[in-house]
Structure formats: structure tokens, C-alpha cells
């Protein structure tokens, strides 16, 4: 009995203590961090928006709040107004609160920027957006770091409004406001470059070049997003080409090619081999544009020979080689080079382009269209001719049969080395196939395509299968007629659609004759 009484007493005391603590909590001041948490929580619920706004305003004007908390509170506050679609209210609050904490320069800047963004975006009052940013510049003439930020934003809005010259000028003013801040300089240079590049005026390259030259320095480029780097680096070369400063462009491309090769060689590098190759291709284009055809030929050859592990630009280079040879009147060489283009074509459009290319070369050699049209007819109807029946009077012969494929000893040498390092998976086999195609050896290429299809897993099956037929088998056959049989055979195998051997729908293997 006594024990029960004592226990009851303890319980009463404990309850009383708990109640007292609860009362204390009710009167104690809530910390800024707690308020911020509550405001952030409340912004997602419409019925608590008023609470969120009140808490944010309290935080912003509180002497206990640090700059980051104020900034976060302003974000929440603007978010709530935007959820309510009360954009004018958001602008008014930002303006009012900036005046309430004049000592917090970062907050004041943020409030101006937020207002400008609201005017630019939701309120669609671009003039007022610009005016707001200019108001900051006028009211804070000595705040250079923040002035730079505002001017860059001003430039971006002007650029959006296609006021390119004004945008360029504003960004130019920002460049040297905070020279020790690489981010600030980089942002300003980027805006200058973008403004001048977007302005479709004759002298745009001239205007882009000086800021771009600075921007592509490592210290500034590093401050931009990774995806911007390539754009800016290639644009510098583009500018030199637009200005016809070809020697400089080539020197630049050579330097970039070297840089990307070195980066590629580094362990765990994410630089792709085709990057270095692309600089090489750009250099070839400069010779092409200058009309220095012999040097262009050599440079396009380098796209293959100097980059034997990266097939990305081989086709384009081969096409240019064929076209330049044609332009130079070296028609027999052009014919051989164009034949490699036809072999390597990956789709119907490219096949057509190359059939026409070859027909034009035949015409140029013969000075009449006889052989050209015989070739076109062969491509159109195949060896059985228009009646599609072999052994009849309209059977056709391929004029290309009499044309040898080109010999590329240097390619063969570097490709052989690349094949040794290529690996043992299906992709490696596909790569080997391409090296053979560009060496003028379609039969060897075909075997590698077959092997890539047979060896690989299911994932790339259809891509490898189509390439095996459309590129591999077609290159050996020399035409596209009857390729449907190959597709059907790959789809069903020799037993045909019913899957039963020895029935009427069995399919003959169209690959077998090509492997002899």
C-alpha cells in the first residue's frame, strides 16, 4: 500500500516537471534556425503560407540571423509568393526587406537580383528588370565585386533582348571590376563572347576573339561548366578561320590536339580519343578552305593515320579525300577513294551520295555518261538487271569491278597496330572491321562484322546485325539489291519463320557465298 502511494507520488512529480518544461518551451525564443526549418516546411502547404511569410520576414530583420540564413529566408519567402502567384508582392517584399537590412550587402544584392529576375521572368517587364539592375549600380557605385555580378546579369538580359552591342559593353565593364576573382572575370568574358558571337555582323569574329582568347586560358575556362569548354575552345578556332587567319588557326588546332592527346594519356582520363582527332580534322578543313588542296589531302589522311583508334571522323575525311582528288582532276585516284566511301557507307542516304559521286567521276573520266549510267543501273537493279532474272539479256556488269581498290600502306601499318590493341569483345571486332573497310579490304571487314555479331551479347544485336548486312555484306557484293534476304535470314535462320527445318519456308543462307 505504502509502495503504491509512493509510486503515485513520483508519477505526480514527474508529470508536474514535464508540464513545467512544456510551459518553458512555450515562452522560450525560437532560434533562427528553427524558424527557417519551420518556414521551409510551411511553404509546401497552402494553409501555412502566411506563417512561412511571417517567419521569413522575422528572420531577415533579425539581428541574430547570419547572411546565409537571411538569404535562405529570402528564397523561401519568394518561393511562397511565387506559389501564390503574387509576384508584385514578392517584388515589394524584396525591396522593403533590402531597405530593412542595409548593412548586409550580400542580402541587398540578392534582393535586387531577385526583383530583376521576377520582372524579367514572371512579370515579363524586361525594362523594369534592367532598370532594377541599373538602380543597384547607381546606388552602389563603389561596390565593384557586386557591381561586376550585376553587370554580367545585365549583359545576359540585354543579350536575350538581342541588344548585343549593349550587352557586350556591359560585360566589358564587368571584366576588370574584380580582376583577382577568376569566376567574375570568366563570367564577364563569357557574356562578352556570347554577345558578340550572337550578333550576326560581319566583324563578329574580330570582336569575339580578344575576350575569347582570355576566356580559354585554363584559369578562366575552369570556372565555366564542363560542357562549355569544348564550345569555347572550338569557337576560338572558328573565329580565326572566319578571319581567314589560317596559319594561326592551324597552330592553335595543333596545340589543342597535343593538349587533348596528353590529357587522354593520363590515367583515368575522361577525354575521348576523338577529341584530339577533331582538332586534326579542323586543321584539314583550314587547308580545304584556303584551297591548298595538296596540303588538305595530306591533312585529311592524317585524320585516319594519326588517329587509328578513333573511327569517328574517318568517313568524313575519306569523302573529302575523294572530292579533293576529283577537284584536282585526279579522277582515277578519286574513283578508288570514293569506292572506299561507298564500302563504308552506313545508310541508304550515304550509299546514294556515293553512287552519285562515283557516277560523276566516271562521267568526268569518260567525258560521256555511258559508264556512269551503267554504274547507276547496276546499283539500281543489281547484276540480274531490270527483269531481276539472272541469265537474261538485260543482265548488268558492275563497272567498278574493273577498278582496283586503293592501296593505303601507311593506313594498313597503323591500323594493324591498332587492331593488336583493340581487345577481344564485340566492339573490338567492329572496330577491326572498320579498319579493314578504310584499308580497301571489304572481305576482311565483312568477316569481322560477322564475328562482332556472333560474339556480342544481346544489347547491341540489332545495330551490329544491320551493320553486318548493310555495310559488311553490301560492300562485298557491291550493291544493295537483294539485301532483304540477308535481313530475313538473320531474323529467322535457315529453318525460316516456322522454325522447323525441312519445311517450305526454309531459307537459303545468303552469307555463305560471300564467305568463299
Amino acid at each position: 500500500m505504502r509502495v503504491a502511494h509512493a509510486a503515485g507520488l513520483v508519477l505526480v512529480v514527474m508529470l508536474a516537471a514535464g508540464a513545467a518544461r512544456a510551459a518553458d518551451a512555450g515562452t522560450a525564443e525560437v532560434s533562427v534556425a528553427e524558424k527557417l526549418d519551420r518556414a521551409a516546411e510551411a511553404r509546401g502547404r497552402t494553409e501555412r503560407h502566411a506563417e512561412a511569410l511571417k517567419l521569413c520576414e522575422e528572420i531577415i530583420v533579425s539581428a541574430k540571423a547570419d547572411p546565409k540564413q537571411r538569404a535562405d529566408a529570402l528564397d523561401v519567402l519568394i518561393d511562397v509568393y511565387c506559389r501564390q502567384k503574387k509576384y508584385d508582392g514578392a517584388v515589394e517584399a524584396a525591396q522593403r526587406l533590402a531597405k530593412a537590412v542595409p548593412g548586409d550587402a550580400a542580402f541587398v544584392l540578392k534582393a535586387f537580383m531577385v526583383r530583376a529576375e521576377l520582372y524579367r521572368g514572371e512579370l515579363k517587364q524586361r525594362d523594369r528588370a534592367l532598370a532594377t539592375l541599373r538602380e543597384f549600380l547607381q546606388s552602389h557605385p563603389d561596390d565593384k565585386p557586386r557591381g561586376a555580378t550585376v553587370r554580367v546579369r545585365l549583359a545576359a538580359i540585354l543579350r536575350e533582348d538581342r541588344q548585343f552591342e549593349e550587352a557586350y559593353a556591359e560585360a566589358a565593364k564587368a571584366v576588370d571590376l574584380e580582376p583577382q576573382n577568376d569566376q567574375s572575370v570568366s563570367d564577364a568574358l563569357t557574356e562578352m563572347v556570347e554577345a558578340a558571337w550572337s550578333d550576326e555582323k560581319a566583324d563578329k569574329a574580330q570582336k569575339v576573339l580578344p575576350p575569347l582568347k582570355r576566356l580559354i586560358e585554363d584559369r578562366y575556362l575552369a570556372k565555366q561548366n564542363g560542357w562549355q569548354h569544348w564550345n569555347m575552345r572550338t569557337r576560338y578556332g572558328d573565329c580565326l578561320r572566319l578571319l581567314k587567319r589560317y596559319d594561326e588557326a592551324r597552330a592553335y588546332y595543333a596545340a589543342q590536339e597535343k593538349i587533348d592527346r596528353q590529357k587522354r594519356a593520363a590515367p583515368d582520363s575522361r577525354v575521348e580519343p576523338k577529341w584530339a582527332q577533331e582538332w586534326c580534322r579542323h586543321a584539314a578543313v583550314t587547308f580545304d578552305e584556303e584551297g591548298r588542296l595538296d596540303e588538305a589531302l595530306a591533312a585529311y589522311e592524317r585524320v585516319l593515320v594519326d588517329h587509328p583508334t578513333s573511327p569517328d571522323y574517318w568517313y568524313e575525311a575519306q569523302v573529302r579525300i575523294a572530292d579533293i582528288l576529283t577537284k584536282k582532276g585526279r579522277f582515277e585516284d578519286a574513283l578508288r577513294a570514293a569506292r572506299v566511301c561507298l564500302d563504308a557507307a552506313r545508310d541508304e542516304g550515304s550509299v546514294l551520295d556515293n553512287v552519285r559521286r562515283l557516277a560523276e567521276i566516271f562521267k568526268a573520266i569518260d567525258t560521256h555518261v555511258g559508264r556512269a549510267n551503267a554504274f547507276i543501273n547496276y546499283q539500281k537493279y543489281g547484276p540480274a538487271g531490270e527483269d531481276a532474272k539472272p541469265g537474261t539479256a538485260d543482265d548488268l556488269k558492275d563497272p567498278l569491278e574493273a577498278v582496283a581498290r586503293p592501296a593505303y600502306p601507311e593506313r594498313e601499318r597503323v591500323f594493324a597496330e591498332a587492331r593488336k590493341q583493340a581487345g577481344d569483345d564485340a566492339d573490338a571486332m567492329r572496330f577491326r572491321a572498320l579498319t579493314y573497310l578504310y584499308s580497301g579490304k571489304p572481305k576482311e571487314a565483312f568477316r569481322c562484322f560477322l564475328d562482332a555479331f556472333a560474339r556480342g551479347s544481346e544489347n547491341e544485336l540489332q545495330t551490329r546485325g544491320v551493320e553486318m548486312i548493310f555495310t559488311g555484306a553490301r560492300a562485298v557484293r557491291g550493291h544493295t539489291i537483294g539485301l532483304e534476304d540477308f535481313f530475313e535470314f538473320v531474323n529467322y535462320g535457315p529453318a525460316g519463320p516456322d522454325g522447323k527445318a525441312g519445311t517450305g519456308d526454309d531459307l537459303a543462307d545468303p552469307f555463305a557465298p560471300l564467305l568463299k
Binding site: 555518261v369 547507276i376 546499283q379 593488336k420 577481344d424 564485340a426 577491326r432 551479347s457 529467322y492
Partner: protein, 208 residues
């Protein structure tokens, strides 16, 4: 360039790691020879090392006492070894994968088993007849069991059908888009531009 082997850091236990090492060492040594057709030939040592890795991985993958994740990793590695050896047509291989697929625990590593089973049924051939036959056999086996078909199997079937559908639509052919070259002959009407010189008129009488 692509290295020979996939993922040596699977941390699936000493056995898988050791098998991976064998594959890696063999893989790194690949490519010493190149046949005229360009197929990467493996040296006898490479073939032996990969063969040992294959046997070891096959045992691991089939071991019902082994952890599921070890078996799954062993299967992934095994598939890669077959890709390197190009021996998907090995006698009994397709049966082995199919038995594994129909085993009780297969649900826990269906993805690599299905991939391996389909590749083995293709058997290094350049057509999908064997894979179609595999799906027919699997359907029959699952139907005989009377169990609902696992969603992963259905997904894999759909994926295969999607891939096979690509071969049902061969390119349309270039014939209709090819036209013979025509020599354009300008219609000549030289006469239109030719006029005779005017004949000087007789000087008037009486004028000098």
C-alpha cells in the same frame, strides 16, 4: 582502346576476384596475333587461362550453396569470357544455361542467365533462329510448370522481339531514288542572234 575484361572490382569473394584476374591477365595479353580476317587470335596460353577461368566461373555460377550475388557476378564474368573466347557455340553450353535458368534460385540472377542463354542459343551464328527456338522451348517449359512467368523473363522476351523486329524492316532500297545522268543539251538557236551586215546603200546621185 577497350580492355579485355569488364569489372575486376566486384568484391564478390576471393574466387570471383581470382577468376577475374585470370581473365584480366589473359585479356591484357590479347591481340598479339591478328589473322588476315582481323579476328583477334588468342595465344594458346590465353586460351588456356580463359578456359580455366570459364570452368571456374561456371562451377561458381552453378553452385547452389554459393551466395546469389557471387553467382550473379560469376555469370556476368562468364558471359564476358565467352565473348572473349568467341565460344558461344560450345557443345552443351546452351543446355547448361537453360538448366540454370529453370533452376529454383535463378530468379535472383535472371538477367545474366537470360543474356548468356540467348547468346549460347545463337551459338556464334549470324542469325537469330536459335534464339527464337530458345524462347519457344522456354515457353513450353514454363507452361508445363504452370507457374506465372517472371516479369524479368517477359521483359527479356519483349526486348528480344524488339531487336528482331529491326530485321523485319530492311532498308527500302535505293533503286527508286537513283536516276541516270542526263546530258543537258542546250537548245541552240544561233540564227536568232545572227543578223547579216547591212549592205551599204548606193550614194545618192549628185552628192560627192
Amino acid at each position: 582502346m577497350r580492355s579485355a575484361v569488364i569489372n575486376p572490382l566486384t568484391a564478390c569473394g576471393v574466387l570471383v576476384a581470382a577468376a577475374w584476374m585470370v581473365v584480366s591477365v589473359a585479356g591484357a595479353a590479347l591481340g598479339g596475333q591478328d589473322t588476315p580476317a582481323g579476328l583477334a587470335e588468342l595465344s594458346p596460353e590465353d586460351v588456356q587461362a580463359l578456359g580455366e577461368a570459364r570452368d571456374c566461373l561456371q562451377d561458381m555460377a552453378a553452385d547452389e550453396g554459393e551466395h546469389d550475388y557471387v553467382r550473379a557476378e560469376a555469370l556476368l564474368a562468364l558471359n564476358r569470357v565467352h565473348e572473349a573466347l568467341g565460344d558461344w557455340g560450345r557443345p552443351g553450353l546452351a543446355d547448361w544455361y537453360e538448366r540454370l535458368l529453370l533452376s529454383e534460385k535463378a530468379k535472383r540472377f535472371l538477367s545474366p542467365v537470360l543474356a548468356g542463354a540467348q547468346a549460347a542459343c545463337r551459338g556464334g551464328r549470324y542469325h537469330l533462329g536459335g534464339v527464337r527456338e530458345f524462347w519457344r522451348r522456354l515457353d513450353a517449359a514454363l507452361q508445363a510448370r504452370g507457374e506465372p512467368v517472371d516479369r524479368q523473363i517477359e521483359d527479356a522476351r519483349r526486348a528480344f522481339q524488339g531487336r528482331a523486329a529491326r530485321f523485319e524492316k530492311p532498308p527500302q532500297g535505293i533503286a527508286r531514288r537513283l536516276k541516270p545522268l542526263v546530258v543537258k543539251v542546250q537548245k541552240m538557236n544561233v540564227g536568232r542572234h545572227l543578223k547579216p551586215y547591212p549592205v551599204p546603200s548606193e550614194p545618192e546621185k549628185g552628192r560627192k
